[in-house]
Amino acid sequence: MGIVGLTWGGLILFVGYGFLVGLLFGFFGMGGSFLVTPALLVLGYPSTVAIGSGLAFVFGTATIAALKHRDTGQIAYSLGSAMILGMVLGVGVGKELVFRLDALGFADTVVGVAYVVLLGAVGLFVTCDSLRGKDRTKQTSIKFARRLQRYQLPPMLPVTEETSVSGWFVAGIGLVVGVISGLLGVGGGFLLLPVMLYAIGVPMTIAIATNAFQIAISSGVGTLLYAQSGAVNLPVVTMLLVGSGLGARIGSVASEIVDRARIKQYFGVLLLFGSMAITSKTVGHVFDIAVLNRVSIVLIFGATVLVSAAVGYTTLRTLRDGDATPAND
């Protein structure tokens, strides 16, 4: 018994999971797909379907977020457009790679290992960066961004009122992130956010808003490409989106209330948990150890619940202490 091809249990699972992922997405300014695609993988969906559905989910959430951020006027359209050019090309390349690997029978393992490396590396970087302290990070990021901004290769795109960056660099970064997006079924926000902050020198609020705009367009193209091969599970995507729509709005409000310094730490821990879950799943798959499959499910769903609870708790505590800054709404 159930509706749209899902059992009632599956329906509740995907709506509930979507809500939590949406909450985190609204809070961190990322597609949340690095939790959706691995979750679909550990639940036993084929890698092509997990990636295609992950991209379709990101397309929905990023569209909602882009509309929301458009209202606040924080999207840098010229910067975003250059990034989109590169990302769209990259997504096509990534999708081709996945289907070729799938034909050879390597897609599950390669995607799994790629997730472990990527989530682990980015998670470690963000967590260490966060633990080192804000001042040092700020200094490093400004130094690197200034070095990149020194190359005056037209067309130059405005970053802040005083600084600009070459469109070629931005499109090049977009191409690399696009390939990863098409290959892993992620929006790329977890890579774009640090890159925009550290390498390009975009202010945090503008980086989050512009990310949503870039990801909405590139994941839309990715969804189209995967849907052409029938690799998008619409009932699952629909249920995830229904939950995440509400969660994203709440998360977005929470991000305006909670101290920004806390954001990065949660972000890093979440990525590390994602990496551990995929490690467990891949090892379980290769050595045929069933219990590791269950461990990976507990890790990925547990991490989402815990970090969502941490975000909610911090927001409520900030409100209670009366430190909240007024929301833009």
Binding site: F59, I64, L67, T223, A227, L234, G245, L246, R249, I257
Partner: protein, 49 residues
């Protein structure tokens, strides 16, 4: 994939993209009304006036 296969499969792919996009808009508007109209009354701390 040859051009004919791409052309034949495109309508279904466009429908998928259209469905997800329209769902996102519906959720944005629906939840927008829900949170922005109801929250100032029921959760004023999140929406200070």
């Amino acid at each position: 994939m040859d051009p004919l296969t791409v052309a034949l499969e495109l309508p279904a792919a466009i429908q998928t993209v259209g469905f997800v996009f329209s769902e996102a808009i519906a959720l944005y508007v629906g939840y927008g009304v829900l949170t922005e109209r109801l929250c100032p009354t029921f959760c004023p701390n999140l929406y200070p006036t």
